[in-house]
Symmetry: C3
Subunit: 212 residues, 3 copies
């Protein structure tokens, strides 16, 4: 499998995970099926479009390669057909979102590197790709972005994943095994932090979080 | 009238319609006149700027061609002078918004085609142009975007208009008459759906909408 | 000091001011330190990224030049260490935001001129740079953007500063002294309007503001 094919597969899988999170949020918000497809597209393709626009890639993959439309349509269809219990929405949404985050911080960093960005820019673009779609999703649906929610650890796993990807790449060790290992670590970090209620200190020294 | 002049006229008329919808929302939200001009600019020029940035057009028309500033300033002035009944805001806003939607899904698709985008990308960019400004307007004014409101059919008319435009163009039948016919169909679809309370099924099979 | 060095210094100082406003808002919203760094980045770098993307600069300075990350990290650290009184947040936030506004309407206009934009486009891009980050900050934090708040005069000082910058530049009079004078005027206009409760008329003729 060539590098480009591998990167495409990684990216499309991340698109699918984020798309499911978008359609699940659409279900919770009681949007209609068109809104479900659109929110799936926004969250799964938005981060990559922002990355490609910043890198000066015209057209961004989501517009130039029609295959990128398959995962969001599939995700909306799966949620339409199989979803029937509102209780599980929050957990499922968080798990699929974590899967997208884990894959996008890698594919975003690699795409930036392959287009000649310096390591710092590549890491920043990896993080932007990973968190961008979710922020667009939450803003559009009028939720507080998980990115800024002090009860969540969200950006930190993406940053670690992007930094690890850039490091492993520059050491020449990047391959399918190391890539999937990084993805698994990011996923585990995000999900464990969520399950165990890990916190980061508040923005001001000495301030303590109020009981929720 | 050349193709470029016709496209510019179509685009400027769409800009004017969306600009009026922006200034009407500014009135309903009790913004000041500066906020009215700014919201008119954001909604009428935002979708096109996003389209041009994605297509790699620098500068986007809204920045490069000062004539694009005339419709939003005119719209804010007309709303300032003639508007005095808050009752009619919602209806008027929806009608002007539908006019902008009908023209932008055509001009957005044509501009993408004229810059060499493939048909699928051109349709997606037509839809993005048509719905982009309205989404920016609603997010900025802290409203639920009409795009995601399950009581509205909003994206579907834009999608049909963009797809029809791409089809008619590729058949070589695009001209002033067919263009205005598509615009009229999109406008009629959107407004009839709104007046008759047409709905699309919800995002999950078997879920029914609650009474509003 | 060369023009480019001067422009960079001006820009970085504006980045720092906006970054402090972002971290102060993060403190008021009780975000954690990671959210504080991210909001500082978004507000201080967002306007410039939007400007560079519109101008077709790849990579935008915020991604291509790592030095742009220093001010937001510094700002989040300063707020973390020294901030301990919630009473002063609103005033401080407004003052730092006004400082960023004053510097960015100048640096944004100059950068657009230096890349060959016409004067109208340069003024529009100066205003976009100046108000863009603050709008992103307020939307993300679910606040009404100060830009649209009828109790604030926000866009007008930025517009005057950008127009003055373009005028003084085209007269060949732009230098450190005239630049700092324009910045001081914009800052004074914004802060005086805020302290003295200056208002702009509402979006509709004859409508009066309700008592707050």
């Amino acid at each position: 499998m060539s590098f480009d094919t591998g990167l495409l597969a990684l990216d499309l899988l991340g698109v699918f995970f984020f798309a499911v999170s978008g359609s699940l949020l659409a279900a919770r918000k009681r949007f209609d099926v068109v809104g479900s497809v659109l929110l799936a597209c926004l969250v799964s393709l938005g981060g990559g479009v922002v990355r490609d626009v910043i890198l000066g890639v015209h057209l961004p993959s989501a517009f130039g390669q029609p295959i990128y439309l398959v995962p969001p349509i599939l995700a909306a269809a799966l949620v339409y057909i199989f979803f029937n219990s509102v209780q599980r929405v929050t957990s499922l949404l968080t798990l699929f979102d974590a899967g997208g985050l884990a894959l996008f911080c890698i594919s975003g960093t690699l795409k930036a590197i392959s287009l000649g960005a310096n390591p710092v820019a590549a890491i920043l673009l990896g993080v932007t790709t990973a968190v961008g779609g979710g922020v667009l999703r939450d803003i559009t649906a009028n939720e507080v972005p998980a990115l800024f929610d002090a009860r969540e650890i969200y950006a930190l796993p993406a940053f670690c994943g992007a930094a690890l990807t850039a490091l492993v790449w520059h050491l020449g060790w990047f391959n399918l095994v190391t890539g999937l290992t990084i993805a698994a670590l990011v996923f585990a970090f995000r999900v464990t932090a969520w399950r165990r209620h890990w916190y980061v200190p508040l923005a001001v020294h000495g301030w303590h979080r109020q009981l929720d």
